[in-house]
């Protein structure tokens, strides 16, 4: 029997028993729905991570000298954590030697950060914001520019004046319908003059990147952000990728010398690149994909069992029809393909509905939560392909039973 004919017959069969068919393909539909939804959301997050988040946390061709890694991959034993705790911190005093070793054209910035409560006389309640103290080329590396006011002058950096630039959220909260430039914010009793408002940084996973204040490293704020002269780290950005690797090596040698490490000893500091942030994400993504595939797979297995059952019932109900078809000249493979096509069509229709539902679901999640979603063509093809596959696997046994029926017995069936 021609393939098109078989599909037409199968669709007709599905249409005749609409309700029963719907329940039959529910399992496959739900399985594919979740598969598409998870894949879309993970895909969306992944695109977001690579395009935006990592770029925001870490600039291209940049690395950061830190005492301990910001990001810890995989499972580590107690020795690992003990070793991390024993490491010396990066201090104010490290900045000069490290930056002296950098070649020309390389940008750097010492950074510290902490959550601090700040106040203004325009708002009654204080609020906790991320406070940074920075030096050097911080704003250039981060590609941050003010929308109002200006950045710090060399004198302000040098003399550690009480000036801050602030994020959009801080401006909106502490200076409602006021121009923040020239007005003051109070941190731990000391007033800081706002000289600039930075452009909007956006948000990821519902966390705003605009709730910050930044002051020069030498300002009094540094006492609270980086107590005892301990800084979070030094960011270094090179003009090229190759330059980054050799510069990392230079910095490594400086730090090893400062920490008096013998050649056999391992580094007791961290040089973190944006690659490690991405590596971290890829690892999470791997787990998400496994979970996102494993759970729908259970749905698909259940769906397959349901389809197999329904097809066995269909073969039993239509024994007479099979007998008639055989008496009219249907060969085994005609009957086999008829039932295989029928179960594959049934399951593919379920998968197609699942693809549509999955898209709707992903879009819904993207709309009501901060999670992004990106629907990808390959997931559609995989979804529909899985549907057809499940149908063929589930239909194989019932179809082979149908094809082996004895025509005489089948014709006599009621």
């Amino acid at each position: 029997m021609p393939f098109i004919e078989a599909i037409r017959l199968a669709l007709q069969q599905i249409w005749v028993q609409k309700l029963k068919s719907f329940f039959t393909l529910l399992g496959v539909m739900i399985g594919v729905t979740f598969l598409i939804a998870v894949v879309s959301i993970v895909g969306g997050m992944s695109r977001y991570m690579t395009d935006q988040l990592v770029g925001k946390i870490m600039a291209v061709n940049s690395f950061e000298l830190r005492s301990r890694p910001n990001i810890n991959l995989g499972n580590h034993d107690d020795d690992y954590w003990r070793e991390l705790r024993r490491r010396p911190r990066i201090k104010d005093t490290d900045i000069q030697p490290v930056t002296d070793a950098l070649p020309d054209g390389v940008l750097w910035a010492a950074v510290g950060q902490d959550n601090l409560n700040i106040e203004s006389k325009y708002v009654s309640k204080p609020r906790s914001v991320l406070a940074y103290t920075v030096t050097g080329d911080y704003f250039t590396i981060k590609k941050m520019a003010p929308v109002e006011g200006r950045l710090f002058s060399p004198q302000e950096y040098e003399r550690g004046m009480n000036v801050v630039v602030i994020g959009q959220d801080v401006a909106d909260y502490f200076f409602p319908s006021l121009d923040p430039i020239g007005r003051e914010l109070t941190v731990r009793g000391l007033p800081y003059t706002v000289v600039g408002v930075m452009e909007k940084q956006g948000s990821a996973f519902g966390i705003s990147f605009d709730k910050f204040i930044i002051a020069p490293h030498n300002s009094p704020l540094n006492r609270y952000v980086n107590p005892h002269g301990v800084i979070d780290g030094i960011m270094i950005q090179t003009p090229s990728r190759e330059g980054m690797l050799s510069t990392m090596e230079d910095v490594r040698q400086v730090m090893r010398a400062r920490h008096h490490l013998r050649p056999a000893q391992k580094d007791d500091f961290e040089l973190e690149t944006s690659d490690s942030a991405l590596e971290f994400w890829n690892k999470i993504k791997g787990y998400l994909v496994i979970a996102g595939v494993a759970l729908p797979a259970i749905g698909l297995v259940v769906g397959a069992i349901v389809i197999m059952n329904i097809m066995l019932v269909a073969v039993a109900e239509r024994t007479r029809e099979i007998g008639i078809r055989k008496s009219l000249g249907a060969r085994r493979r005609d009957i086999l393909s008829q039932f295989l096509v029928e179960s594959a069509t049934l399951s593919t229709v379920g998968a197609a509905l699942g693809v549509i539902m999955g898209f709707a679901f992903a879009k819904l999640i993207a709309a009501v939560t901060p999670l992004p979603a990106a629907v990808e063509l390959w997931s559609v093809l995989v979804g529909v392909g899985i549907g057809a596959g499940v149908g063929i696997v589930a239909g194989a046994y019932p179809a082979s039973r149908a094809s082996r029926l004895d025509p005489i017995t089948a014709l006599r069936a009621e």
Binding site: M1, G323, K326, L328, G329, R331, L411
Partner: protein
């Protein structure tokens, strides 16, 4: 009252006697020593015990016999739905008694048109689609199928009911759809199994007239029945008893008109 045309019986015996030889094209069906046994839960049922039968092209034959005589088994074997344990069966010059399942399916498709007591139409398909079915398995294109199915339905005066489903048709109409389906692939034999068993006497007569006219047009018709009234429409009556042919007689048209029974 029973008239066997001179020479007919002798020729039949001759073609049956030449075991292993392919009969010439005039003989549609030749069986030699056909045996069929079933194992019914340890008990061997010998349904056919050596049936010798030869049927020429254009014959109209009724196979009669009480239940258990083996007539259904014979009809299944002739219809290539079943294969004999022993003996030869030549259909249209081809030995089909030892063919594979798929080969038998092709033979059923090309050579045999079945008409069943219970019509055996697909309930959800229109009359036209039911008639198209054998052509689907013959691999005929959709347009050609439709054309030939229409023609076949018109031949049985159902041109106006093509789009009706079986449950929208009367018993006689259903059986005529079944006849159209049996004829659509131009089979060598039309094989009818109690074709009037589910019909009232008026409708039965109507269906018998269809068979008669097909036989007049040269169609080979083999009909299995236990009703003498129906069998008397045939021009030759084969009676089976206990898996063997008990009698094989030719009737004259004159006898048929008098309505004499066996």
């Amino acid at each position: 009252m029973i008239e066997a045309p001179l020479g007919a019986t002798a020729e039949r015996q001759a073609v049956i006697a030449s075991a292993g030889a392919a009969p010439d094209g005039d003989w549609v069906i030749v069986t030699r020593g056909l045996k069929r046994e079933y194992d019914m839960g340890g008990e061997i049922v010998r349904a056919l015990r050596g049936v010798d039968l030869a049927i020429r092209r254009n014959e109209y034959v009724a196979i009669m016999g009480p239940s258990g005589s083996g007539k259904s088994t014979l009809m299944n074997v002739i219809g290539c739905l079943d294969t004999p344990n022993e003996g030869e069966y030549w259909l249209n010059g081809t030995r089909v008694s030892s063919m594979s399942d798929d080969a038998l399916a092709r033979v059923r498709n090309k050579e045999i048109g079945f008409v069943f007591q219970t019509f055996n139409l697909l309930p959800r398909a229109s009359a036209l689609h039911n008639v198209e079915l054998p052509l689907v398995y013959a691999g005929v294109s959709a347009d050609e199928r439709r054309r030939r199915a229409r023609e076949a339905l018109e031949r049985v005066q159902l041109g106006g009911r093509m789009d009706h489903r079986p449950n929208e048709l009367s018993g006689g109409q259903r059986q005529r759809v079944a006849i159209a389906r049996a004829l659509v692939n131009n089979p060598s034999i039309l094989l009818a199994d109690e074709p009037t068993g589910n019909l009232d006497s008026t409708t039965s007569e109507e269906i018998m007239r269809v068979f008669e006219s097909l036989a007049d047009q040269g169609q080979t018709v083999i009909m299995v029945t236990h009703e003498p009234d129906i069998a008397q429409h045939a021009r030759r009556v084969v009676v089976l008893r206990d898996g063997l042919i008990a009698s094989d007689e030719r009737r004259s048209a004159f006898v048929e008109k008098l309505g004499l029974t066996v």
